[in-house]
Each structure stands twice: as C-alpha cells, then as structure tokens.
Amino acid sequence: MHIDWWTLALQTVNVLILVWILGRFFFRPIMEVVAKRQQEANKLLEDAARERDEAVNMRAEADKVRANIAARREDLIAAARAEVQSEKQNMLAQTSQELAKLRADADAAIVRDRAAAEAQLIAHAGDLSVEIARRLLGRVPHRVLLRTFLDEICAEVQSLPAEARDGVAAAVTTGRQVEVVTAAPLSDQEMQNVSATLEKAFGAELPLVFRSDPAIIAGIEVHGPNTIIRNSWAADLERIRRELKA
C-alpha cells in the first residue's frame, strides 16, 4: 500500500482551512446568536424578576398604606364620635340652662304680670267701688252726710293728742289758716254750722277757710298748719287699698 504524502499534506491543510472557515462563518455566528438570545432571555427573566419584586414591594407598601388608612379612619371616626358626644353634651347642658332661664323668666313674668293684673284689678275695683259709692251717696241727702261726717271728725278731734289739737287751735295766734275740705261746696248755713261744731270740738276759735274737692268723694277733712284730720271716703279707700296691697 502506497501513501501519497502530498495528498496527505494537502488534505491536512484542506481540513484545517475548512475548520477555520466553518468556525468563522458557520458555527461562531450561530453560537453567537444563540448566546445573544440566551442573554436576552436572561435579561428578560431578570427584568421580570425585578419587576415582580418591585410589584411585591409596591403591594406591601400599598397594604401598609391601606392599613394606615384604616387605622386613621378608625381614629377619625372615634374622634368624630367623641366630638359629637361632647358637642351633644354641651348642647344639652346649654339647652337645659336656656330652658331653666326661660322658665325662670317666664315665672318672673307670670308673677310680674299677675302682680300687675292684681294691682290693675285692685285699682279698677277701687275705682268701681268709688263710682258705686258715689252713685249710692247721690241718693243720700247732703246735710245728712255732712252731719254724720262732721260728728265723726269731731269725735276724731277729741281722740287726738292734746298737743296736736292745740297745734290746730293755735293757728289763730300764728296767723295761719285752717282749711276745711268737702266734696261739694257748702252753703253759708252749712259753713256756719261746720265752723261752730269744729270750734266747739277744738275748744277754740278757728280761722277756717272752706274749699270743695270732689276727689274726697264724701266726708270732710281739716287741714291744719301741722295736722291733717281726714274723715272722707277717699281717705278710707286709700287706707283699704294699702291694707289690701299689704
């Protein structure tokens, strides 16, 4: 068997060249594109893993924020309830105070109105009684009334202390006048009769001056320098009114 060494050498060179050619233009490009795709896939996987981690972290953050919101909501609700309760208590207290004040004011107003009504009623009753008395007295003869009141005032003069009675009687010496007030003007006869009766009661001569005043309704009054002796229905009504008010 013969070996052609030239052929062996050429075939060796040929195969080595083919190794280089295929390695350079066939195997390397394919391996590079596979490796590049693998890198891309790894990068995608890494990106996906990173994004998944970020999503997990974001979800954890969201859960935390949600928990905080829930806790804050509970706190706000509790605070709002407490505030509403406090406000309710304040409003109730304020309303109670206002009601008590209104009630007190109403009571005072009622008392005041009642007192005013009573006073008005008393005044009205007084006026009514005066009017009734005046009308009734209109049926009694004037001289009878004058005689009656004159006798009563004389009795009252007699019951005065001596100093008061003397004070009136001393009006002559002091130059002052003693005024006799009647409800209706007196005639001269009646004036003389009244003068004589009063001078007898005081036991002295008196400088009398007569004056009529319908306000005393009925009766006779003696106004001295320091003493006033009343025997009139106006004085009686005034006394009765004061007693009723008391």
């Binding site: 052929t7 040929n14 233009f25 394919i30």
Partner: protein, 230 residues
Amino acid sequence: MIESPLTLSTLFRIGPIPITGPVVVTWGLMAALTVLGLLATRALTLSPNRYQTVLELVVGAIEDQIRATMRVEPRPYVPMVGTLFLFILFANWSSLIPGVEPPTAHIETDAALGVIVFAAIIYFGIRARGVGGYLKTFAEPSIVMIPLNLVETFTRTFSLIVRLFGNVMSGVFIIGIILTLAGLLVPIPLMALELLVGAIQAYIFTVLAMVFIGSALGERRARHEEEGRS
C-alpha cells in the same frame, strides 16, 4: 469503479505538487460547505425562522454531545469537532454523486484527519494542563505505564484512521464489485446501507476524537470547567 481504491491517480499538477482525486473532491466539499454555511448564516435573527431553528438544533446537538462526552464548556471545541463531523459525513455521502469517489475512502484523507486529531489532542492537552501537566499524564496511573501510554497515543490515532478508512473503503469497494457483477439497480440497497454506515462512521470518528481530546484535558480541567459552567 474498476480500479483499486487503494491507488491514487494524479489528475494534474500544480508545480511539483500532484493533485489527486481526493484533494479535488475535498476542495469541492469545502466550497459547498462554505457556500452552504454562508447562506445559512447570512440572515440570522434573534427570532429564528424554521431553517434557523434547524441550524441551531444541529449546533446545539453538537454542543450537547461535546458537553456530555468531554464534560467541558463546548464553545471552544465546536468548530473543530463540528467541522470534523460535517466534513466526514459529507465526504462519506459524496459517493452518492455519480463519478465521485469519497475522499475518506483513501487512506491519505483519513490519515490527514487522524493527524489533525493527534495534533489537537496535544494542543488542547498542553493548553489545559501546561507542558509538564500534559507530559505527566503519560505517567498515570504509574510511571510503569509510560511506554504503554506512549504506544496508546499513537495506536488509538492509528485505529481511528484505519477504522474510518476500512469502513468507507470497504463500502465503496463492495459497491464497485457488485456494480461490476450485477445490474444497474442492484447496488441501491447497499448504497442506502452505505449512507447509514457513513453517518455512523462520521459520528464514531467525531465521538472518539472528543473522547481523546477530553482525556487529554484531564479530570481537574473538566471539573473546573464544569463548576464554571454551572
């Protein structure tokens, strides 16, 4: 085919260099493989189409085979191993073309492949372990084994050459004889069988080359690259 496949006839000369049939067929195979390689890789994209997927499947299968056999990162060895497989496969199958004699049916081509594998064993062994480390492998498992290891280094390469040469040459020889004795269509089943034998022989040659290169890299290198890969 009426002449012996063991003889070579010079087709022409380039200066003093005689150009024989296997060399011309090898040039044709080189040109075809180069053109096919360029066409196949001219439009590679990250989103592969059907053809690119097939190409990546082939290269991926070669890588997986290297990884499984040599237990190293396959990328530096793919051009060498892949080219050996493709060249032997296409060389064996070139017998289907009428008038073409496969280069691997001649001992010179197989010897050239064996020389390349022999050189590759030494080159990758020294690159992985250094000169001293590579020479120490001849004293494993003991110094007594040095003569046997030295002999084995040559004999295993020689067996590689002879195995490929014997199988392919015998197939071509048998088909030639049958074609001479029988009719036109009789050798077809044998040609189909020869296709299978050609593929198997290409696979066996490549796997044995990977085993020899891997053994030169050593366990330490293999373990290191395995950890680096993982």
